[in-house]
């Protein structure tokens, strides 16, 4: 196992990068960060739509969110894989296909998290802001969202960690990420799947475990600084 790490650690970390496309762990992290960043504004918009005063907007956003939550991510990835090239007229790389699919998928789940946070802000806050003359958007931006987003920080970070894990599905459409790199190594070695997949699982485990522990530490320290603990 140590030998495999010694020979192939660069493949696991960055793929064939200097001589080929970037891949491996670096790609996994790039895809995850990009998708969560892109899905965040969409999720906030959808959370606002689901709590809006207009019935049709609530119904439409709820329908869309439930549609995305009702199908497997793999199905969504295949939809993007086939539909985006037809819609845009360009051949889209696997990378952007995966980022698009993850953005849509995470936006649906994240909007539920954020909606719960917004619903848990006491109604008096909205009423006070409105009676002070703040419009809808000022109330949202200045009063409701800062409180709601802070309260659901744990939910957002755990969504980020599941995004990291979900990038592994890019393997199915041949995106050059960590799982794909491990399979390449496995195909080169042929005889040591046990070692290769143990390394693969260990990398994901360390990444996600350390991140989730670290982020929850960070949250506690922020809460403590704000005098909430």
């Amino acid at each position: 196992m140590l030998e495999i790490i010694q020979d192939y650690w660069l493949t696991f970390l960055i793929g064939q990068y200097p001589n080929g496309p970037l891949g491996g762990l670096a790609m996994t992290i790039i895809v995850a960060v990009l998708s969560i960043l892109m899905s965040f504004p969409i999720a906030v918009a959808f959370a606002m739509a689901r709590l809006s005063a207009f019935g049709w907007l609530r119904a439409a956003s709820a329908g869309l969110v439930n549609l995305v939550r009702g199908i497997p991510l793999l199905m969504l990835i295949f939809w993007c894989y086939f539909v985006i090239p037809i819609m845009t007229g360009y051949a889209v790389s696997g990378f952007w296909t995966l980022v698009c699919a993850l953005t849509i998928y995470e936006a649906a789940y994240l909007s539920e998290v954020i909606r719960a946070g917004m619903a848990s802000v006491p109604k008096g806050q909205t009423e006070a802001a409105r009676s002070l003359g703040g419009g809808y958007f000022l109330t949202m931006r200045g009063v409701i969202l800062p409180q709601a987003l802070f309260n659901v920080l744990p939910g957002i970070t755990s969504q980020f960690i599941s995004t990291i894990k979900e990038t592994s599905l890019g393997y199915v459409i041949a995106v050059n990420e960590l799982t794909f790199a491990a399979n390449q190594v496995n195909n080169l070695l042929l005889t040591q799947p046990l070692q290769v997949f143990t390394i693969l699982a260990a990398i994901y485990f360390i990444l996600c475990f350390v991140l989730s522990r670290g982020l929850s530490r960070l949250e506690t320290s922020i809460r403590r600084k704000r005098g909430l603990l």
Binding site: L67, R69, G70, I71, P72, L73, L74, M75, F78, W79, F82, I161, K165, E166, T167, S168, L169, Y171, V172, T179, N183, N186, P193, L194, V196, F197, T198, L200, A201, Y204, F205, C208, F209, S212
Partner: protein, 231 residues
């Protein structure tokens, strides 16, 4: 758009759907049984037991399901005794190994859900039941477990939904379930929109009926609701 598929493709698709449902059912039953065992083992006083259950849960929560499935498919057979390995290769190894991987992954999450349900029951409930003369088993059977299951029902339904959707990951190791069949038919016909549309509708039917069943269960499990129905 040609909406209706030829009958042989419908047959392929429904064969895939049957595999999906079978995979889900087997994995769910295995996961629930294993989750109960994990909860009981976790509740014992031995530090080794607690530690190993925690490690099991941490592994399955922090490693992608696809990697877990691949690990079982590519790596695990090496560790199995020869007899079991040959038996597996004779009996649809992909399906069996995918079902095991899915069951283990879901069990880790379900165990956490059940455990937090148990933790939510105040200790006084247990003490009161014992003070009224119930035995340990009676206390568990009639007082603690029914309340705990009621609390953990919503997250357990959510887990079941996730498990149903995650069966699609088994296509990566060649289990001929719904997503796999969809891809196969798409490759044959290039009738992309129709076939993916049908598969999506089938998945949605599955998840929505699971959701409906879940909320029916929750309504049944909540005391007082039934009486309100009659009134």
């Amino acid at each position: 758009m040609n909406f209706l598929l030829p009958p042989d493709q419908w047959a392929m698709l429904f064969g895939g759907l049957r595999t999906t449902i079978l995979l889900f059912a087997i994995a769910w039953i295995g996961a629930f049984a294993l989750a109960l065992i994990l909860v009981i083992v976790r509740a014992t006083d031995y530090r080794v037991c607690r530690w190993s259950v925690d490690a099991f849960v941490a592994y399955h929560r922090n490693v992608p399901l696809l990697v877990q499935v691949m690990f079982w498919y590519f790596a695990m057979p090496e560790l199995l005794p020869e007899g079991i390995r040959f038996w597996l290769y004779d009996h649809n190894a992909e399906f069996c190994l995918a079902a095991i991987a899915l069951a283990l992954g879901s069990a880790a999450y379900q165990a956490e859900d059940i455990r937090s349900g148990l933790r939510a029951i105040p200790g006084t409930q247990f003490e009161a039941a014992r003070a009224l003369g119930c035995t340990y088993m009676e206390t568990m059977r009639f007082i603690v477990v029914p309340q705990a299951l009621r609390i953990s029902l919503p997250p357990l339904v959510g887990r079941a939904l996730l498990l149903f959707k995650n069966t699609s990951i088994a296509m990566a190791i060649g289990v001929a379930e719904l997503t796999y069949r969809t891809r196969e038919i798409e490759n044959l016909t290039f009738n992309t929109f129709t076939i993916f549309g049908i598969a999506t509708v089938l998945y949605l039917l599955g998840t929505f009926s699971l959701m409906a069943f879940g909320s029916w269960l929750e309504r049944r499990a909540t005391p007082g609701r039934k009486e309100r129905h009659h009134a």
